[in-house]
């Protein structure tokens, strides 16, 4: 049985359906019985008539009026992303409020986009020899793969679910240590069961 490729946004998603939000799910099969159609290279005589064609086009627009609206009205309407969504980074703090990072450069080493830049220096705390004096992530260059998170031996760097990332200049997207630590304060209470 051949499935015709249906429109991508074709059904409410399962994962977030309970929130009542029109989140698309990419893998849900088109509901309802699938009609088997023969694909042929040559259009039939009927398909080649222009007026019925125009009508079909018009109808495919009109019938969506009664269908469920899938467009998310950003920014009034906020799209919920899945729990393990990978968005803007944060630098975690320990229970004493100090940054956890020990400047091991493993995230920088793992990063395939080459967008992390760390400068290490002697740490002010006795429990570690060094810490990151500077820590910059180029969020524009990042491919949000999560390798940095994976590489970190201290659970010091994580990706949050924050995806609204707006700037007017490129250098605004270079997130420094303070910004990344602030991201932690903003997302401190979020729990992300899948990765954290």
């Amino acid at each position: 049985m051949t499935h015709l490729p249906g429109p991508i946004f074709n059904a409410p998603g399962r994962a977030t359906a309970d929130r009542g939000l029109p989140t698309p799910a990419y893998d849900t099969p088109r509901p309802g019985p699938q009609k088997e159609k023969r694909l042929s290279a040559r259009p039939t005589f009927f398909q080649r008539l222009i007026v019925p064609g125009l009508l079909r086009t018009w109808w495919s627009g009109v019938r969506h009026i009664w269908q469920k609206k899938l467009t998310v009205q950003w920014p009034e309407q906020v799209r919920e992303v899945s729990d393990n969504y990978r968005g803007v980074h944060r630098l975690n703090k320990d229970d004493r409020g100090r940054m956890k990072c020990v400047a091991c450069f493993l995230c920088q080493t793992a990063c395939p986009a080459n967008c992390i830049r760390i400068e290490a220096g002697p740490s002010p705390w006795p429990d570690r020899p060094k810490y990151a004096v500077r820590f910059t992530i180029d969020e524009l260059r990042c491919v949000f793969c999560g390798m940095c998170e994976e590489a970190c031996p201290e659970d010091a760097i994580e990706l949050t679910r924050i995806y609204s990332l707006v700037g007017t200049r490129r250098d605004e997207m270079l997130f420094d240590k303070e910004q990344l630590l602030t991201m932690y304060d903003l997302t401190r209470d979020e729990k992300h069961p899948l990765r954290w």
Partner: protein, 519 residues
Amino acid sequence: MSDVRLTIDDREVVVPEGTTILEAARSVGIEIPHFCYHPGLSAPSNCRMCLVEVQGQDKLVPSCATAVADGMVVRTGTPRVHESHRSVMEFYLSNHPLDCPVCDQAGECVLQDYSYGWGSATSRFEETKVTQPVKDVGPDIVLYADRCIMCTRCVRFLREVSGTGELSVIHRGVRSEIHVAGDRPVTNPLAGNIVDICPVGALCSKDFLFKCRVWWLTSTASACPRCARACSIRVDSSEGRILRIKPRENAAVNGMWICDEGRFAFRQWHGAGRLDVPLVNGDRGFTHCDWDEAIALAARSLRQVAMRYGGESVAFIGSPWATIEENMLLARLFVSLGATMGSLWPAPAESPQRFPGFEISGEKAWNVAGARRTLMDVAGQLLTLDRLADEIERGRVRAVYALGGAYRGALVPCDDLGLELLEFFAIQTCFVTDKGLKANLILPGASPYEKVGTVRNERGVLQEVNAVMSPPGQARRDWDILMALAKALAATVDDDLTRAVLDRPAAQWNYTRSASGNE
């Protein structure tokens, strides 16, 4: 000495009598793991990592301290040997902080490498690890005593090579530690070598500490410009910055060590104050000018002097900081102009320093011998600076063109040269010094770490030097400047010469390629 024939891992090995099993295995490319053994030091045989099986002996034997014997059958990879490696590694790792992520040695650490081979992912150690403090060992060395595996390489180096013996082992067993007497820090001129030979990250260089992870370093083989010994070095750089210098093993030159002056010599050429634009001396003092102008001015002035007073009124001064090729090009260029008088800046002289296992030359430039011999070869004679000063005073020399390139603070001694009597004086150099200001033209040249070429050390050994980085700003390699000048002079310096210099067969130069690194 007679040769001994033995079998190591089913391979026939023939080595001189008295060789140890470890060295014999090494000579055929079989690497036996070891910590305390170092080819440049005595073997105390205390780490027990190098145990191997010898047929006919019940116990495993330490290969670093067992001499080979005729007909010996050695096995380095039996289950018993591997079991021994695993036990030794478990022993070392049980009290090791395992702080590889923050350890500077990670990536080039022997303990880390062997952990991949014989370490275990889990630990049976339930007791508390002995913690030890971070100790300040010397002006450039810090000891993370926690990471030390008590191989005593550092202690032996200071006793056997530098002969200063600042470090010792105190206490016993798990509590033993490397002791540095408070009033006697490790300050000897060879101190940096203990950082290199420490197989783990216990001894670290303060200069390199936290600067870069070692896997990002680019290593360039070169020679040390600091003294006439021209030790074989490896320059580690990242993003066009030199971060550290390590010795390369070269029996003909430096053995396995370098001195600290050479280790940190890059600081003397790099950083603030480097000349990076051509400077021309005009009515308003020195002003920046572009290269075309500078080269045209030099060519015009030199040709004018040569036409007015004859070619022999133009003299050149070679430099012990320039390579053989650069000195040769300089000499050929000026000889082709008709110059007969050439000289060579003397290298700063200090008294040589001798240690039981190393010697630092007193002549503070790498290519003194090479420059002298090359200039003599091409020009036939070499005047002393005094003679040249005489000739200048008598008006026989009207223009001088010099190579420079000395490190910061080592001024070329041109004070008594009577430069003010000259019609034209130009110098290619790295730093502008007050004395250099008598020049008509100062051209920004390259530091030794920015050059490609060959140098000859005081013992006559030739070594290839390689560029680690490009010269800063508009500065250029001295060879390139000379080639540009040659073109502008339309002298008979053409591709033939370039080829002759660069393609000169290695055999003819008695070229000794230095051995590979000493890790």
